[in-house]
Amino acid sequence: MSERSLQGENLHLWRGDRHVLRGVQLSLAGGECLQVTGPNGTGKTSLLRTLCGLMYPEEGRVLWAGQDVRSDLPGFHADLAYIGHEPPLKVDLTPRENLYYWIGVRRRISRPELDDALERVGAEQWRDRPVRTLSAGQKRRVALAGLALMAVPLWLLDEPTTNLDAEGQRLVGKLIEEQLLRGGLVVAAIHHELPVPGATLRRLELAHE
């Protein structure tokens, strides 16, 4: 089993007339967290979507465990969790139902496992209410529960602390810390500081042209 690692080699991405990613290099090993910063519109989201294989870079490649991810996309996807700007939740379903379907498509989960995860993010009071009645912060917490439930080594998080109160932000930090302790990798696009210990934290600053 090769070492868990994520590399981006010389990534170039164009969106229409804009050269969004201009030769981005990154390398991340197990137990490390990369914090991607930069003003709006500098390609943080595009970088995450390129890393997870949704977007095709015009040049360069992404390596997972030393292998080009294009050679086995489903295998790579089974190893990663990507949470975008909006938590991927159905407003007509409850948090419990949401997680049951969302995570269930990827891996088998038991009911107690699911309830534990929801309890962990403080959702036991409202886990059976339709998501449309929840606040933005509560939705974000459900997404965090899903993230934990996926049990995958690579996390790609786009602004994971948006809409969260101080306690919620600490929860994000705690989850990331645990993920790193397990030898997992985290790439987070974020405006402010991630609340995790600095030793494992690395930075990538994106800037405008």
Binding site: W14, R15, G16, D17, H19, Y56
Partner: protein, 245 residues
């Protein structure tokens, strides 16, 4: 390396220059063949024993109908190539094909109707060939509609490529089903093309027209291709040379 030619075909500056050089090599023979075919078809070929001079519509109807199918197939092959190898030039070819094909499909429909009036006594007959041609026109219009509805050129390329491939799988099915449907409801059509018994004086002009139209398609395609390649490019250096007056 055996694959060099393939990679070179994917290079926009190379294609832009090549298309410019090749255009006259298709345009002039196309012109000569069409003029020759017209003379042969209108003047030299004898009137048909059954349809008289009315049959001469074949010399414009058949090439148009041939174009409608050939261009669609070319478009789908180019689109598929673009999808599989993520080749921008192939998408540019597909994008260039659609308006040409649609216009000739329209010509095939109208000339078919004009031929139908003296043969059937009505302009429109639900003849399988004409019905298929009509559906093909809808397919072209759908393709062009989808393309124009998507702002981003690359996304438009790839989305419409999927549609072109789906469409080309459907064309034979549509043709078969329409023929099947027609055979239930009426006698076989009078409009028979390219009868094996056609004398050479009739057949040769037809073949000239078919080949002439095909070459004409490639000539127009090459001009359009240059435009499409240009609009997909961002690298300034070769464009500056290409467009400097």
């Amino acid at each position: 390396m055996a694959w060099t030619w393939f990679h070179r075909l994917g290079s926009p500056p190379y294609i832009y220059a090549l298309a410019g050089r090749l255009t006259p090599w298709f345009a002039w023979p196309a012109g000569a063949l069409i003029v020759g075919g017209l003379y042969g078809g209108l003047v030299l070929a004898p009137p048909d024993w059954q349809q008289g001079d009315g049959f001469r519509i074949i010399y414009v109807h058949a090439p148009s109908a041939w174009m409608s199918l050939m261009v669609y197939t070319t478009m789908a092959v180019a689109a598929g190539t673009g999808l599989i190898w993520r080749m921008k030039v192939a998408h540019a070819v597909a994008a260039s094909c659609a308006p040409i094909g649609a216009s000739f499909t329209f010509a095939a429909l109208v000339t078919g109707a004009l031929w139908g009036q003296p043969m059937w006594g009505t302009y429109w007959e639900w003849d399988p060939r004409l019905t298929s041609e009509l559906i093909l026109l809808f397919l072209y219009l759908g393709y062009m509609g989808l393309r124009s509805a998507i702002e981003d050129v690359q996304r438009a390329d790839r989305m419409s490529a999927v549609l072109a491939v789906v469409g080309v799988v459907n064309v034979p099915i549509i043709h078969y089903s329409v023929t099947w449907w027609n055979s239930l409801h009426q006698a076989p059509s009078v409009m028979k093309l390219a009868k094996p018994t056609m004398p050479p004086s009739m057949l040769i002009p037809l073949l000239m027209m078919l080949l002439g139209f095909t070459l004409f398609f490639f000539a127009v395609l090459l001009v359009r291709l240059r435009a499409e390649v240009l609009s997909r490019e961002r690298s300034a250096t070769w464009i500056r040379e290409a467009v400097s007056p």
